[in-house]
Symmetry: C2
Subunit: 330 residues, 2 copies
DNA sequence: TTGTATGCGTTATCAG
DNA sequence: CTGATAACGCATACAA
């Protein structure tokens, strides 16, 4: 591995000149440029990014922390992040936390030690205090999940309203016994989606009954199990709103096992609009989050913070959409 | 952001001593240790990883290049990689190349500039020459996809045999007109799976007919389209072997649109055993690759290279399994 | 046991 | 336009 020194020697110039040629922001005579470029080519020299980042205290790199790369929902967001990042000369590196606090801590440590210029956090497991402290020290944007009242820029959708609309759709179809499959965790979206569910019921004069609420962890299996439990209820629910598409698909398979037809015996609504939602039979009614745009926006906000710094905290709410398909309507 | 110098001053010792306390491999008196630890805590000091890596020419970091994080197949491999890496004190960072040569180059550049100690490559777009040169310079292991005859350690399954077994299964069910949905790209697995398909046909005395072969890009949509095309053939195929589960699912939906029943009118076999394969109706017959173990093994081989170096090139073939489900057998 | 000095590979400042 | 040199933050050989 050759260094800038080797190049300088070979070209018969100083390292400063080599650096100038590489970075191209000062005047260097055409002949010297030629000599240096030749030497670089011959030695197959590439600047050491560690040295450069150390010197410039800037790495042109962004960390993206996410709980689970297997979730297609995040994959689409990441695409948006990457496109904006690359357009602006940044590279992004994905950090799979597996919802594991220890792993997340390790990546946060890298971030704090300037391995990257900033980070986008999805579904972070950190406490409010930790987050606040982190955001003071390093450019950070939260995407999708966030905590209320923190001085941290975030982008998300209106989860309460989205759930409200989904459940209203089911009510509009004439359903009275509408179940809910949610998630029991520290995430704000979980609370908000439950609240939206309750508000829609209440406004329609339907009593909210916790018995008709079951909880999972967003996965197919947990949705399957939750639905099993709900279908044992008497009277059986005729519709269910799930806070993730994966759980909704699990719920449908659960109903199928009981020889119930979807949507005739059970209407199912999901959340996220992952692309499997339309590959499925029946195709899935769901809330579509603008995943790609969420990613783009998060990255743009982060760039603002990185480049300006003392910009004010922004809470950005993006539009969602109820997509009606076969799982609720024939 | 405080540095080792700040800590040294605050504790009234030299930076060397601070460094010793942090790394804990030399003798330091208990009292000094205490003083230093106190200073570190008060300043909330964390070593700058760039400086450290630059000095040690070792980063304890691994890059994983993959073409598409949205593909659940890779997600599972990554889990294996991460588990082994973490167990050995390494962190891994995911680089999504999007099958884009330019993006891949950028990440390779980071690797070469010692931002990481090594890399695991999945479905690399690099040429044989580029790969060979890279492997000479940096610890590298290829996972799943590789090129024959290169001096680069890799781990994969026997793709030819797997395809052979899958097609043999279809033949065993009595099918004669067996179609193939493959992928036209530079990857060895594409060629090998086609070869396995041909060998199975030939051994069974069925003539190989290129007309019954269509090609896609592993995606749902491309599988859907390819099947449309094959179903227009006369006589219509009664079975199809697809080189990815996503394409197989697309093929099934295509058949459904033509009011064909799977497996009665068309038997479908996929490849990969992504977990959606068993969520689907009908559940999908497929080849299961040991994804998690592939990841673990790739990482272990990489660690060997990193820690020993002039170890010889290893070509590791792992076991696969034909999993028979509803899409081929009632 | 501790401190001094050097170098990892860059870029930036300051002379010339 | 170019060169010498300091500095980024850290770890280590060598001295004390």
């Amino acid at each position: 591995m050759s260094t800038i020194n080797d190049v300088a020697k070979k070209a018969g110039v100083s390292v400063a000149t080599v650096s100038r040629v590489i970075n191209g922001n000062s005047k260097v005579s055409p002949e010297t440029v030629e000599k240096v470029k030749q030497a670089i080519a011959e030695l197959d020299y590439r600047p050491n990014l560690l040295g450069r980042a150390l010197r410039k205290t800037k790495s042109e790199r962004i960390l993206v922390l996410l709980p689970n790369i297997a979730n297609p929902f995040y994959a689409e967001i990441v695409k948006g992040i990457e496109d904006v990042a690359n357009k602006n000369g940044y590279s992004i590196m994905l950090c799979n936390t597996d919802s594991n606090q220890e792993r997340e801590k390790k990546y946060i440590k890298m971030l704090k030690s300037r391995l990257a210029d900033g980070a986008i956090l999805m579904a972070s497991e950190m406490t409010s205090d930790e987050l606040t402290e982190l955001a003071q020290e390093v450019p950070v944007v939260q995407c999708c999940e966030y905590k209320v009242g923190l001085p941290i820029t975030h982008v998300s959708i209106d989860n309460e309203l989205a759930a409200y609309k989904a459940v209203n759709h089911l009510i509009g179809l004439g359903h009275k016994k509408i179940a809910f499959i949610g998630a029991k965790n520290q995430f704000l979206s979980s609370t908000l989606r439950l609240e939206g569910y309750i508000r829609a019921l209440t406004e329609a004069g339907i009593e909210y009954d916790p018995q008709y609420c079951a909880y999972g962890d967003y996965s197919y299996k947990s949705g399957f199990r939750a639905m099993k439990q709900l279908l044992a209820l008497d009277p059986r629910p005729t519709a269910v709103f799930c806070v993730s598409d994966m759980m909704a698909i699990g719920a449908i398979r659960s109903a199928m096992e009981e020889n119930l037809s979807v949507p005739d015996d059970l209407a199912v609504c999901g959340f996220d609009n992952i692309y499997f939602a339309k590959m499925f039979k029946p195709t899935l009614t769901t809330i579509s989050q603008p995943m790609y745009d969420l990613g783009c926006t998060a990255m743009e906000l982060l760039l603002n913070i990185i480049e300006d710094r003392d910009i004010e905290t922004i809470h950005y709410i993006m539009e969602h959409e109820l997509i009606i398909r076969e799982s609720t309507v024939k």
